[in-house]
Amino acid sequence: MGIFKRNYCCFFFCCLLSGRLLAQPQKLYLNPATAGPAAQSNFIEITRFIPIDAATEKISTNTSLFITKNYWVAYDYIEKKLSFFTKQGKFIKFIAMKKYGEPVIVYDSKAELLKFNIKNKNYTLTNNDLVAIRAHYAKKANQKYFKNYEINLKEESLQIKRTTTDPYFIINARPFYDDYYYRSDMSIQPRAKDTSGYELQLLEDHKPVKSFFPFNRTGNHIFRYANAQMYLSDTDTAYIKYTSRPFSPVIYKMNKNSISPVYEIVLPLENAMPSSRFINGFKSKADWDNFQNSNGAIFFSFNSIRDMGRHLFFGIRFLRNYESFLYDKNTAKFYKSKMIKADSSQYNIQLLQNGLGQYADSHYYALIPAQSFLDFYEKNKEKKIVYPPELERFFKTATKNSNPVMVEYKIKD
């Protein structure tokens, strides 16, 4: 126990030291319970409505959206269907992904490829298996556990093709910029020989070139049952990303291979993990489950961080809830994104209910169900509301089962 305590003390000292050496982050005070509502039109300018034109296909809004150079690609994660559209909303084709399995999809903008990493459904892997496989990711025998596919977006046929398994996929690494990838592996191995772990690593040619935030991979670490990972959120510049660490409400900016804290989100005490847990961790999975059940409002991690000049947007994963917030730097006020409501000038179309849309070319994109437009249209039939021509056309033929409308918008600066 003494060894563990010493290791944790070292860990915290390192964190503290690294923090001291870096620039002081700006403190922003957020009380999640009181972050208020606002009018959507204060923040958002809708630039285009593009009804999805797919006469033979039913397009769902339960999708992950990818904005590529020439296409919108929507992956319906319930129906397991990949649909391609032109940027004018014209449906091109769909690919049934069910037979392949549940993919992790990565858009490689440099090579204009959609890459799919799919766990081979002929194998059942435990967390321990994954750790063992990732430790020897270069071994050919370990490639069978994953299947990789890609679609070359430069080719008109948009065929999905099997490719050799990319070791980056095996180790769950994601592209950073140029030839750099990043990886976040916070798995705890109580009996691991190598006790050193890093919350974030930069990789080049499948090898770590820089590591950040060391931690002890053994013992009752706070990460043990949390299944935590660090994710990098995109900016307009490929080598600049934002990220955060589990249980630490600090937003970091990554610029190539350097990292610095930029914002510290100060939360009420009730949202903070008790300090004793950083030292003692969790005794068992039951202890972790019990703690989660009784302390659902405790901060876990940030995601979807976007710094947009006047505004800062991020999502907070609490132990049992999720909320996203928009911060107005001019007024120093936080707004809960699901309480940012659209008025009639934006046809009551809620664009921030589930966070920010997909970003590309200075715009955000979100698929909105036809029903939402029709509800407003029916309610305001008596009023003389002027709709853009594309919506006028849409209302003439649309039913509640029609395909959704892509909304392109900007965040006002």
């Binding site: 009181t34 319930i78 194998y123 059942t124 892997l125 435990t126 999975k285 039951a286 699901k338 940012i340």
Partner: protein, 937 residues
């Protein structure tokens, strides 16, 4: 029945009409006062002048709300609350001139309190993440109201007449108090009918993974509703109970009581009772369930049982103590030890007359018999259980139990057999005096592990051992006189001394890591493989010494034909493997799951019997292939319906017992002399079953509906049946034979409908069964195909006008018929119908009346049997802790205890003694204290 139904419907119509004179309406929108943006999920509550909650709802995504059907000409208060905002209150009154009002409510941010978590108005219900939270403080009810009465006020929650709770149509299988079963008891009503509303901080309803399906890798685990009653911090200790005493006419008496004491880690329950009114006192667990504080009991649970034969004097004493080694509000984390003790006794006197009509080949027989039986039983039991669970996947349960029973029984009987012309053919007069002492004990270990980290360590193991010892002494005297053949007269005075010892060991292992062991990470195309290993060893030793009284020698002499020693050892080993595969599909609006299961098992048995009777020294070995197949399909439409369909097939074998092969024939009862058959073959049974159920799951539906139908068919090859040879004197010789293949099938169906009309509810429950049995028998050498059919229909209609009036109407119709194909044999049919009506009137907060009337008609009995009870109870003292109850049973004094039975031999009608009209006055005191301070009660 129709007459009652008509009256019921008329009454219900009038009552419903009276309750629906509310035509007022308010609607509006809730917005943020600064930004003018709408606020979704703001809680809108309407309170009456006396702060009673009239209705409530949450605003929709546009901040809108609407309350139709509000009462006119009544002062009402509108409360609006939203976390982080100042709450809004406004009084209003609707009338016929202005029956509708509209509100635009702009809530200002609560800037006084930077944390803004103080909710100033009381919110009755809210969603906290994925948990529905009910706030008892928002419901203005009597101070003495308990959790069940509170739940009855919450829309979407239905408490069915049988005590089941459903939320939006889905049953709530688990009801916890602070994350644990209350007082470690499985009956949730111990919590819901005792815990006062004022001791409850909140009631949470949430969904969690169905742990019963956790052992299967590829099955998407269903979620089930769990209700957790969270007690206030200062109410986590307390006591409650009941002590009651009653005395009535005919020296009828009853006394019962229970007392429960609990804190965070300990609970102690003691209880006891005694009565001579045919009322079951039961074990300590039953006492806790029966003696709850709940005042409404429309189903008249736990009152005198007039349907029970004879008069019983009974008593029971018991205690349960539970200690939790850790205090945790996690429902899947246990570390506790529980011990229980019960001492029970029963004295039962039954006397009765039976008239039986029996079919035989050449003649019909009428058998009249009278008997009396007095049985006295004393029993003691004690047990201890240790349970430890670190998480839902690791469980350990250790338990040990012991039982001691002593019984003494005296019986007399007289039987007269007559032919079709009612001429007496024989009589038999008998009496018996017996004593039995029995001791039994068992110890068991259950250990399970379902590790997500290491699939090789997934298993479920149970090991148990049991021991039994029975010693009995019985002296039976029997005198048979045959008028047809006086030479066949017999007379016995026989003394039986039996000493029986048995012990058994059981070992069961389900190993869920077989696939991982054999195929490592390869998942065999999603097919789960489980290994089954079951081993049982049983040993049964019996020593029977039978003596006959020799009137010449004037002493008992050993009967060498019946005296014997026997030792039977049975070893069963069943290895098997289970293949399981699931197919799942989830879409935004629906989900679908199909799972298939195939079990292949070989049942290997070895039986060794050694006996002092040489013919019974038999060693036998068997090996049976016993496959089973299961298919389960469920289809759910989100917030609408859930359909479940399951189908199963299994094959089983039974082999004839040594007593069926080489029966030791005892002819002391000449009307039933049984012989063995060493040529008996094994019986194979193929079972096919199905189940279909549908549940309506619409959150705001007016009606809650669920229905189910299930069926079972068993095809038997070489079934064991009787071949009966009837003598004109009534003597019957029964031989065990293998009959022709036979089929049994049964069908059960039920439907429940519930409608809540404001605070009133109407519930209709229907259930029915169809049973059909086709078997072959021999009667007097004639082969006869017997077909037995049974139909039962049970309709239950209950209407509750708030808690003021509860009306209940029930109709039970059952028909049993038995037909024979053998020439000269007769067929029989019996129909029984019973109508029950009950009414409970809670005249005031303290006074209630209750009455039940039931009429029973039977095709074999000329008179209608009517049973009418009436009760009135008065609650008094502080907190309604005192109760005076007057009960009048069988007001018309017309009750008769009649039972009819139909089987392949014919029909029989038995009239026994039982309870008759009596009046009882009972006083009960309910000691109750929850928490150290009563200041906030």
């Amino acid at each position: 029945m129709l007459r009652y139904l008509f009256l019921f419907i008329v009454f219900f119509g009038v009552a419903s009409a009276m309750s629906q004179v509310s035509n007022g309406k308010i609607s509006g929108i809730v917005i943020d006062s600064v930004s003018n943006t709408t606020l979704e999920l703001a809680t809108i509550s309407i309170f009456a002048k006396d702060s009673t909650l009239v209705n409530y709802q949450l605003t929709d995504k546009y901040g809108n709300f609407s309350f139709p059907k509000l009462p006119l000409n009544r002062e009402l208060r509108l409360d609006v609350s939203y976390v982080g905002y100042r709450s809004y209150k406004r009084h209003f009154k609707l009338d016929s001139i202005k029956p509708a009002q509209s509100f635009r409510i702009a809530l200002p941010v609560n800037i006084d309190d930077s944390n803004a978590v103080v909710i100033r108005s009381v919110v009755p219900i809210r969603m906290n993440g994925d948990t529905l939270e009910i706030n008892p403080a928002a419901f203005k009810m009597e101070k003495t109201a308990v959790a069940e009465e509170l739940l009855n006020q919450v829309p979407g929650i239905t408490i069915w007449a049988d005590g089941t709770i459903t939320v939006n149509g889905r049953p709530v299988p688990k009801i916890l108090v602070d994350g644990k079963p209350f007082l470690s008891q499985t009956d949730p009503t111990i919590a819901t009918q005792n815990l006062p509303k004022n001791a409850i901080e909140k009631i949470q309803v949430y969904q969690e993974v169905d742990r019963t399906k956790e052992q299967r890798d590829n099955t998407e685990q269903d979620s089930v509703y769990t209700m957790n009653i969270k007690l206030k911090a200062n109410k986590k200790s307390g006591y409650f109970g009941k002590a009651g005493l009653g005395y009535g006419t005919d020296n009828r008496y009853e006394s019962d009581g229970s007392f429960q004491l609990y804190n965070k880690t300990n609970s102690l329950s003691i209880g006891g009772g005694t009565n001579n009114i045919n009322k079951s006192v039961g074990s300590i667990q039953q006492m806790l369930s029966n003696n709850s504080f709940r005042k409404i009991n429309p189903n008249n649970f736990n009152v005198s049982s007039f349907g029970r034969s004879g008069i019983s004097k009974t008593f029971s004493l018991g205690a349960v103590y539970t200690h939790d080694f850790v205090y945790s509000e996690n429902g899947s984390r246990y570390n506790n030890i529980s011990s229980n003790y019960n001492h029970t006794g029963n004295n039962n006197f039954v006397s009765g007359n039976t008239v039986q009509e029996r079919t035989t080949k050449d003649f019909s027989q009428f058998i009249e018999s009278s008997n009396s039986n007095n049985t006295d039983i004393r029993g003691y039991s004690a047990g201890i259980t240790y349970t430890k669970s670190n998480s839902s996947s690791k469980n350990l349960n250790l338990s040990a139990n012991s039982n001691f029973n002593d019984s003494r029984s005296f019986s007399n009987n007289f039987t007269a057999v007559k032919d079709s012309s009612k001429a007496l053919q024989s009589t038999n007069e008998g009496n018996s005096d017996s004593r039995t002492n029995s001791r039994s004990g068992n110890i068991s270990l259950a250990l399970s592990n379902f590790s997500n980290v290491n699939p090789l360590t997934r298993f479920n193991l149970t090991v148990s051992g049991n021991f039994n010892n029975n010693q009995s002494e019985r002296n039976t005297r029997s005198i048979f006189n045959s008028y047809a053949n006086p030479a066949a007269d017999t007379s016995y005075n026989r003394l039986y001394n039996n000493d029986q010892e048995s012990m058994g060991l059981n070992f069961n292992l389900n190993y869920y890591g077989l696939r991982r062991l054999l195929f490592r990470r390869f998942n065999l195309f999603g097919v789960d493989l489980n290994l089954l290993q079951a081993f049982t060893y049983d040993q049964n030793k019996s020593y029977a010494i039978v003596n006959d009284y020799d009137s010449n020698a004037q002493k008992f002499m050993v009967n060498n034909g019946l005296t014997n020693n026997n030792k039977l050892q049975t070893i069963r080993y069943t290895p098997g493997v289970v293949f399981q595969k699931s197919f799942n599909k989830w879409a935004a609006r629906y989900s679908r799951n199909v799972s298939l299961s195939l079990r292949l098992a070989q049942s290997i048995r070895k039986e060794m019997n050694s006996s002092s009777l040489a013919i019974r020294n038999v060693d036998r070995s068997f090996s049976f292939f016993t496959p089973s197949l299961g298919l389960n399909y469920n289809y759910g439409i989100k917030d609408k319906m859930m359909y479940n369909l399951s189908f199963g097939f299994n094959r089983n074998y039974t082999y004839p017992a040594i007593d069926q092969l080489y029966t030791i024939t005892d002819s002391i009862n000449v009307y039933n002399v049984r012989f063995g058959n060493p040529d008996l073959k094994n019986t194979r049974t193929d079972n096919v079953n199905f189940n279909f159920s549908v549940n309506k799951r619409k959150p705001k539906a007016k009606y809650e509906v669920n229905a189910s139908v299930s069926g079972n068919m068993a095809y038997k090859t070489n079934p064991i049946a009787d071949s009966v040879i009837n003598d004109i004197s009534g003597k019957r010789l029964q031989y065990t034979i293998n009959a022709k293949d036979g089929v049994d099938y049964s069908l059960n169906y039920s439907a429940n409908v519930s409608r809540k009309i404001r605070k009133n509810s109407l519930q209709l429950q229907y259930s029915g069964t169809i049973g059909n049995n086709r078997s072959t028998h021999f009667i007097d050498g004639i082969i006869s195909n017997n077909r037995s059919r049974s139909f039962t229909h049970n309709v239950n209609l209950q209407y509750s006008l708030k808690t003021l009036l509860i009306l209940k109407l029930a109709e039970v119709v059952s028909t049993y018929s038995s037909s024979q194909t053998g020439s000269g044999l007769s067929s029989y049919k019996v129909t029984n119908s019973s109508t029950q009506f009950g009414a409970t009137v809670n005249y005031s907060k303290n006074l209630s009346f209750n009455t039940t009337v039931s009429t029973t008609d039977n095709s074999n009995v000329s008179n209608t049997v009517i049973l009418w009870h009436a009760f009135s109870s008065y609650r008094f003292l502080k907190g309604k802790q005192g109760e005076l109850k007057f009960s009048a049973f069988d007001l018309l004094k017309k009750f008769q205890n009649i039972n009819t039975n139909t089987n392949i031999d014919g029909t029989s009608t038995t009239i026994t003694n039982g309870l008759q009209q009596y009046f009882l006055l009972t006083f009960a005191y309910y000691p109750r204290k929850f928490g150290r301070k009563d200041s906030d009660d």
